[in-house]
Symmetry: D5
Subunit: 91 residues, 10 copies
Amino acid sequence: MLFHVQMDVKIPDTLPAEQADAIKAAEKARAIEIQQAGKWPHLWRVVGRYANVSIFDVESNDELHALLSSLPLFPYMTIQVTPLARHPSAI
Amino acid sequence: MLFHVQMDVKIPDTLPAEQADAIKAAEKARAIEIQQAGKWPHLWRVVGRYANVSIFDVESNDELHALLSSLPLFPYMTIQVTPLARHPSAI
Amino acid sequence: MLFHVQMDVKIPDTLPAEQADAIKAAEKARAIEIQQAGKWPHLWRVVGRYANVSIFDVESNDELHALLSSLPLFPYMTIQVTPLARHPSAI
Amino acid sequence: MLFHVQMDVKIPDTLPAEQADAIKAAEKARAIEIQQAGKWPHLWRVVGRYANVSIFDVESNDELHALLSSLPLFPYMTIQVTPLARHPSAI
Amino acid sequence: MLFHVQMDVKIPDTLPAEQADAIKAAEKARAIEIQQAGKWPHLWRVVGRYANVSIFDVESNDELHALLSSLPLFPYMTIQVTPLARHPSAI
Amino acid sequence: MLFHVQMDVKIPDTLPAEQADAIKAAEKARAIEIQQAGKWPHLWRVVGRYANVSIFDVESNDELHALLSSLPLFPYMTIQVTPLARHPSAI
Amino acid sequence: MLFHVQMDVKIPDTLPAEQADAIKAAEKARAIEIQQAGKWPHLWRVVGRYANVSIFDVESNDELHALLSSLPLFPYMTIQVTPLARHPSAI
Amino acid sequence: MLFHVQMDVKIPDTLPAEQADAIKAAEKARAIEIQQAGKWPHLWRVVGRYANVSIFDVESNDELHALLSSLPLFPYMTIQVTPLARHPSAI
Amino acid sequence: MLFHVQMDVKIPDTLPAEQADAIKAAEKARAIEIQQAGKWPHLWRVVGRYANVSIFDVESNDELHALLSSLPLFPYMTIQVTPLARHPSAI
Amino acid sequence: MLFHVQMDVKIPDTLPAEQADAIKAAEKARAIEIQQAGKWPHLWRVVGRYANVSIFDVESNDELHALLSSLPLFPYMTIQVTPLARHPSAI
């Protein structure tokens, strides 16, 4: 079951740089892990913004929330989730 | 080169039903054609709305505009285009 | 799997009154049918507006879109879908 | 009398982590208390966000405000309240 | 129990003038009726707009919706309802 | 001459608690003073928010601005002022 | 007492051209009349839009609403009124 | 003196096709004329929309408004004008 | 050449009070200076807000930007500029 | 391939002045470098705001994102990218 997810990242200025770097490294590792599990089939950078557009493939809403909230950057992201269905004109 | 495209369709109430049906049939045929040409790799329905989220793969901005404006529903759609880049955490 | 759905109805002024009444009657019948099937556990009127707030309980995004687009008022509604998950503080 | 309530939580970055944890624990206890009193019949997590959608069942506007402002996270939440009425098509 | 209600009126251009006048006259009569019943204690015109700001005093959400939807202009109004509570600094 | 005023309060997290409490106490005293002078005939709490909806009765725009900017919470409020006129259907 | 008023004009496409022209001519005459009475000291065109920014000088909110609603284009305008006060740095 | 101008075109569905085509042809001729006069140095299509982003080079605000309102599509466009200044980092 | 300018001031809470006061005093002096030069013919306070509505009379966009960015409060203001033209109904 | 880019700069108040100055100087140097490479053909200041409107000329979305994210002010900017195509009426 597919979901369209947009994530906008805003790390607060008060977070020390080394702490921010550690979170970003952990984020990257976790993102790769979820992709390798087949749950995050598409991940694109939005040009000019610290943001991504993603497609998630999950069994349920609960699983999707568990995945998203497991991301180390979760507290610093604005996330917008849109459920997708099969399009009648898709081949 | 990938672009994220969201299309919201709003057919005016004044358009006769048979004319609307003809446009929708032509839209479906054209959508399949563009997909088969490899230019429209993803096409999803947004749940609960007469709208889609799509990914286009084109050579240039001009090509993308030519494809979108060739859609029979183009005059009745609000289209939002977002350029995508490779994400550093994508596998 | 639960989804929060808000529907705002706007019937165009150009629709003849008897046709509008027929659609509303069909809408009511279909809404009762979906509720009786256990797929639409909650349906509330928003005070002061021709709108409702609803909870749907479905197996998949595709099923939800099929249900929503089967509503006779679907062409005249603006629908906003929000996926819900279990809340850790819910009893 | 039912009210639709959406709560978005934003804990400021300047709040020490242990203080934030204490407030969250108190929030959970108070949320359970209100639910057990039958005043908060539904509480759902919005997927991908530190937010909930809730239904409150109260005697009056004053009671609703008293309940909401008794929540330990109240100073850190943006709350949107929508009064609900019985829907003519609800079974 | 008090509610803040804002009503913006937009009569469609396609409605014949005499029909619009009849609806406005009926609206005025119904507005006076509800005020005389003590349910609509304040009704003000917003300067420069075909809109009003009102205070309703009702027993329940259902009563408020019944009153608002009984207004002849109801199909042509955008209505926004805000529940009010007693303010701790009010004398 | 009546004005509709909505005030949303947002006290910054960096303000020490005792200082905030002192400002709130001064705010309450000033609010009572203005009400007793007959200039602030209505003051209601918006349910679920640190906000109020008010009606002011003043001689001029200058007097209204003087009153609002005399409030101790003025630097921490977003204030929206709407001029009101007599409504032709008001009794 | 000064008010800042912005008026955006949108004449419906269904209004016959000669009727629209008559309304515009009447609007111009009425605008000149109000200006000559000293009630409308400033009237500017917003570049690129069928809109104006104006300053009105009136005795009361009721007078302002009476003037604005006397404009022949009033039913076709979106009007936004902002009360002005003397600025402490104005010379 | 440069101005950034964005024009969004929305031709009403009620306008007969041949009339719309005549207006579009006249628009094109006028656009070329203004460009050749050196007043409209840049004109770009926004991908996926019936809209353009333009740069105008004029002597005054009045001249800009005269040019824009001389466009045959002016009644059907939403135009947003932004004054530009020299950027200190521009070469 | 006239421009409509709206300035909203938001001084950060972290700025020490004496520094803020010095900036405000310098702002007032500079505002008077520009007014006396005939470049800022109108300056009004927006009732209830730390904001002003102004009319500037300048030779060019560059001059306007130079004036606005010379204001000591410039770094703390959100400024919105609208070019004005002569209105055909202005007397 | 042309892109319309708008950049709004917001340097946090917590950044020390000398650090902010160093970033601005580096930004200017990098902006000149990209312009000299022919990738940034137009760069204008928006009057009254710490913002610019720009045109970029690049080979691909990836190149555009690389250029934008190489700007020293990138972490402090809100950037909006719009793909442009050739306009049929452009000469």
